[in-house]
């Protein structure tokens, strides 16, 4: 008889410990007894899968039994959690069936989490024994754990939104209300076309998003063309530009625009005094939202299009020229068709980003509503209509997912510019003269605007009142960031410190998880074969297209009540960061893995190293650029995120961005701007430090990806 393998034995033991020794309910406060001692009979069957697993491991291995037992354990865990919650039976038909409100139980806690993990790993082991993932337990386990986490933290919440959309505010099933809300003229009205009323919020959103998509693409193209096809020294400038959108909290640009172009803005006042033009509020609404979003998202389009333009082999253009085509004809007949899919891609990214943007419309939208802000006010506004919020969220999700699917499937097959890193000889054709002048004409004013906006962000918080009273002052700075000496020593008395520190704390905690999740997923996608790999990839990348406001509402709906209750904790904020920013890690990981020859990991495997050792010893050392990218981006994006967390923050876990939006919302621009400037500077510092740190530790002779490309791969979803 063979000695039973160690892996399943260990996890059966851990599963048993979870039932016998770990508090089953509660995560931090009010911990309960372990499952088997909690006096809850419906938890007892959970011991059975563990016993069956033992039988399946001892003696002749019986992977079928192991699979059935562990899957059964998971199923029972989920079922009892969904059916029995804190107020009894979840579903009305169960109440009717049993004639009572039923048994109750609080939200699951550590015990349940550990037990679920044990079951998942046993299931992975059983499947691996049957040849799943080429019989590799580590791969199977990683895959199941990642899939489980995505299911729990992306799909379950989205399902909760769908479910709540068909309920009324009291929780009853009301499909006719759903239809009424879905078809409401406030969403779909086209009255603005006839001029009488405003249009529905869905059309507003689509119109702005399309406008922003077109404008960012054109501007991005102008930048990319000038950078690659003229002699203008653009490299350092482009690098700076490519970093800006990452470290800038999303609403800051809107704020700066108000201070510049608002009715009492600096430039408005100046021009008003000069020409005696009546000051107007033109910036509030579509113009403001569009300008702010174009400022924010153009650098992303630029990075995408730089990549696309670099992918056009110069030899093609040279060939065209040797065939007696003029420069303009070459551009029109060769270059343009080749970059067209890239343009569509850039348009869709701008479209999705604009749709998902929450903070700029909130700050500068005036009376113009878009879906993301409407969702917010449906929840927190005086009408308190969660059903409407859910319906709006579904509409928004439908738009972004459509764009996302279009981008992945339609464009995925049409990209001509996928030359696999092979160098092409030749010099890119210079731009035709007219086009070059047009590009300069667009870029120069835009750069001036960008400089004005960021200048305003940096100095706006240090004057009494921008435009009206430009006396320098530190008042706002001290209000936010003062340090005082009290009885117990120095302490941070400024109003911003608490949120600042909590933000960094949570961003730091989310950082390793985001990176690990992203890199592991990339590794699974690039290096492993398993059934449903395409679907898995699509689902993993999909969270890019779920707007933050939707995730925020979804998390409240899903995690406020048992079976999983996390609201009010810092954990849920960290989790929302991890899953929202995961695609960044996946992108970085995939880009890096594709440069590492597959035979390296195969060599390691045939040398007797398990896949875990292979990953740790062979791949991870070479994946370091991707790991660093993923860590940096997850940190920075966590610090600047606002849309999802605005629903999740609490007193103890108040975040910097939410604090700033709150200040800006009541018009306290001084503090908002000074705090934003501090955040921008802080993040610049972080990026610089990491650049220094990583710069010193380059490994081997591998050619690093030029830094300008890194954000492109990290941000571009396709």
């Amino acid at each position: 008889m063979q000695r039973p393998p160690r892996f399943p034995l260990i996890w059966v033991a851990i599963g048993a410990a979870a039932l016998l020794a770990v508090p089953w309910y509660g995560l931090d406060d009010r911990l309960s007894a372990p499952a088997l001692f909690a006096g809850v009979p419906w938890l007892w069957p959970l011991a059975l899968p563990l016993l069956l697993s033992l039988c399946a491991v001892f003696g002749r291995p019986r992977p079928h039994l192991l699979i059935a037992a562990s899957a059964g354990g998971l199923l029972w865990l989920v079922l009892q959690g969904l059916l029995i919650i804190h107020r009894g039976w979840t579903y009305a038909w169960l109440i009717e069936l049993t004639g009572g409100s039923g048994p109750t139980q609080p939200a699951m806690g550590w015990g349940a989490a550990v037990y679920a993990l044990a079951c998942v790993l046993l299931l992975a082991y059983g499947l691996a024994c049957r040849g799943f993932c080429k019989g590799d337990v580590f791969v199977a386990a990683t895959l199941l754990v990642v899939v489980g986490l995505i299911a729990l933290f992306v799909f379950y919440p989205v399902l909760c939104i769908l479910a709540s959309a068909v309920r009324d505010n009291e929780g009853g099933f009301a499909p006719e209300q759903f239809l009424a809300k879905l078809l409401s003229p406030s969403i779909w009205s086209l009255a603005c076309l006839t001029g009488a009323h405003g249009c529905g919020v869905a059309w507003n959103t689509v119109a702005v998003a399309a406008l922003v998509g077109v404008l960012t693409t054109l501007l991005g193209l102008a930048f990319a063309l000038v950078a690659l096809r003229t002699h203008m020294p653009m490299k350092p400038l482009l690098r700076a530009l490519s970093i800006l959108p990452i470290i800038t909290p999303p609403f800051v640009i809107g704020l700066a625009l108000i201070l510049l172009f608002g009715r009492a803005g600096m430039i408005t006042m100046w021009i008003g005094n000069l020409f005696d033009i009546p000051r107007s509020r033109w910036i509030y609404g579509v113009p403001g939202i569009t300008i702010a979003q174009v400022l924010a998202f153009t650098p992303i389009a630029m990075l995408v299009l730089l990549g696309v333009l670099q992918g056009v082999a110069p030899s093609l253009e040279e060939a065209s020229q040797t065939l007696r085509a003029s420069r303009w004809y070459t551009f029109r007949s060769v270059t343009w068709p080749l970059i067209r899919p890239g343009l569509a891609n850039s348009f869709l990214i701008g479209f999705i980003e604009s749709m998902a943007d929450f903070a700029n419309p909130l700050v500068i939208g005036g009376n113009f509503n878009v879906l993301s802000t409407d969702i917010f006010f449906a929840v927190v506004g005086a009408s308190h209509d969660q059903g409407r919020a859910a319906v709006l969220a579904i509409v928004l999700l439908a738009f972004t997912l459509t764009a996302f699917v279009a981008q992945r499937f339609w464009l995925g097959r049409r990209s001509y510019a996928t030359v696999g890193g092979k160098g092409h000889a030749g010099i890119p054709a210079p731009l035709p003269g007219g086009l070059r002048i047009a590009c300069y004409g667009v870029i120069v004013p835009w750069l001036l605007l960008t400089i004005a906006v960021y200048g305003m962000i940096l100095i706006g918080g240090f004057v009494v009142s921008v435009g009206r009273d430009n006396t320098p002052t530190l008042e706002y700075f001290w209000t936010a960031f003062s340090i005082e000496k009290g009885v117990g020593g120095w302490f941070l008395s400024g109003s911003a410190w608490n949120s600042f520190i909590v933000t960094i704390e949570i961003a730091l905690i989310a950082m390793p998880f985001t990176a690990a999740l992203g890199i592991l997923t990339a590794w699974l996608l690039d290096r492993q074969q398993f059934p449903g790999r395409r679907t898995f990839e699509f689902l993993a990348m999909m969270s890019f297209a779920i707007p933050g406001t939707v995730i925020g509402v979804a998390y409240i709906l899903a995690f406020n009540v048992p079976p999983v209750s996390l609201t009010g904790t810092g954990t849920i904020i960290a989790i929302s960061f991890a899953f929202r920013n995961m695609p960044v890690g996946i992108r970085a990981g995939l880009a890096n893995l594709s440069q590492i020859d597959r035979s390296l990991d195969e060599a390691s495997l045939t040398l007797g190293a398990r896949s875990f050792r292979t990953l740790r010893r062979v791949l991870l050392p070479m994946l370091r650029p991707a790991v660093v990218t993923a860590l940096v981006y997850s940190f920075v994006r966590a610090v600047t995120a606002v849309s999802a967390v605005i629903f999740l923050v609490t007193g103890r876990y108040n975040l910097a961005t939410v604090y700033i939006v709150g200040r800006a919302d009541v018009g306290e621009y001084g503090i908002a701007i000074v705090y934003s400037a501090m955040l921008v500077l802080f993040m610049m510092l972080v990026l610089l430090l990491i650049q220094l740190f990583v710069g010193e530790r380059r490994i081997g002779r591998r050619v690093d990806v030029p830094p300008i490309d890194a954000p492109a791969t990290a941000l571009a979803p396709a």
Partner: protein
């Protein structure tokens, strides 16, 4: 029953609708060097990766040393592989690369270093341990890859086109080194290549593959002299394929008519009627007499060690390619010649419906 080093039992491999291997059954003896030979896409690399455990068979069973490894992962199989790209870990030194497998199997460091050093000196690289792979030449990298594979003393050693990244001269040299190593250590080696010369030079046995199947399996000499198909005849060495008619069969032999010549050859399963004859260029003997087929020299080339001729024959719409050793008194273009055939190098192959590569 003797235990075979590797055995395939009705193994097939499919990727979706594409079949990479179609029901292969074969066995490989211990201590032999077997080559998998075929054009790209024939399934030879898939077969190698199935043995290594880098792919999993869709159906069938794979045995290594009598043990069923079909469901085992690559890690769990006692098989090592030398990759076409060598796959040396770029961030580890040569010594760390060679120690890697030993450390992964839990051997303590000092012992692992000792074993690794021994193997490095076996491949003539002692003293190179501290270098990074990128600091070695192609041939040296190749030898590190071999040392890294054999240090684990695997039951089976696999080579995936190991010479394709080397220049022509080095290739012959390294080829002989591998052959030498295999013989002195009595290793079971399975070697994938698409270069038929390489295969002929080192193999105990060659398995020719085509279109996901085994086309022919045998010794280098057997394959060269007695190809059993148009494909094999054409793929290994040069061959003139000439249409003929089988007039009768007797036991293993068939009588074939080619112009005025009557030949008696093993029939390899070909039935009476139209068939094809594979004629090696060396098997054609040229003379100025009239005893055999009469032909005419169309072109001639002098290659130093031998002559090459292209000869037309009346009634045959194809030129015959002929190699002659006599460089002292070569034939000239336009000369009338008489053709006869040597005892080896002429084989009957069944007529194929499809013209293959």
């Amino acid at each position: 029953m003797t235990i075979r080093a590797v055995e395939f039992r009705a193994v097939s491999k499919r990727y979706g609708a594409v079949t990479a291997l179609e029901t292969i059954s074969l066995a490989i003896d211990r201590g032999t060097l077997v080559t998998l030979l075929g054009p790209s896409g024939c399934g030879k690399t898939t077969m190698l990766r199935l043995i290594a455990g880098l792919e999993q068979a869709s159906t069938g069973q794979i045995m290594v040393e009598g043990k069923d490894v079909t469901l085992l992962s690559a890690t769990e199989r006692d098989v090592s592989m030398v990759f076409q790209s060598y796959a040396l870990f770029p961030h580890m030194t040569v010594l760390e690369n060679v120690c890697y497998g030993l450390r992964a199997s839990g051997i303590r460091k000092s012992r692992a270093v000792e074993l690794a050093q021994a193997k490095l000196s076996l491949v003539g690289l002692s003293g190179y341990g501290a270098r990074l792979p990128s600091e070695l030449s192609g041939g040296q990298q190749q030898r590190v890859a071999v040392a890294r594979a054999i240090v684990l003393e695997p039951k089976v050693l696999l080579f995936d086109e190991p010479l394709s990244n080397l220049d022509a001269k080095l290739r012959r040299h390294v080829r002989e080194e591998i052959h030498e190593l295999q013989r002195s250590l009595s290793l079971t080696v399975i070697y994938v290549t698409h270069d038929q010369q390489e295969a002929l030079a080192i193999s105990d046995r060659i398995i020719v593959m085509s279109m996901a199947r085994v086309a022919q399996d045998g010794t280098p000499r057997g394959l060269y002299e007695q190809p059993n198909s148009h494909f094999v005849a054409d793929f290994i060495g040069d061959a003139n394929i000439v249409p003929v008619v089988i007039e009768g069969r007797q036991n293993e032999l068939a009588s074939v008519r080619l112009g005025p010549l009557q030949l008696t050859l093993p029939h390899h399963g070909a039935v009476a009627g139209p068939a094809e004859l594979s004629i090696r260029p060396q098997a054609v003997l040229l003379s100025r007499g009239t005893s055999g087929l009469s032909g005419r020299v169309e072109r001639a080339a002098y290659l130093g060690s031998h002559m090459e001729y292209w000869i037309t024959i009346a009634g045959l719409d194809k030129e015959l390619f002929v190699i002659a050793q006599d460089v002292m008194a070569p034939l000239g273009v336009g000369d009338e010649v008489s053709l006869t055939f040597g005892r080896t190098g002429v084989a009957l192959v069944p007529r194929e419906h499809l013209e293959l590569g």
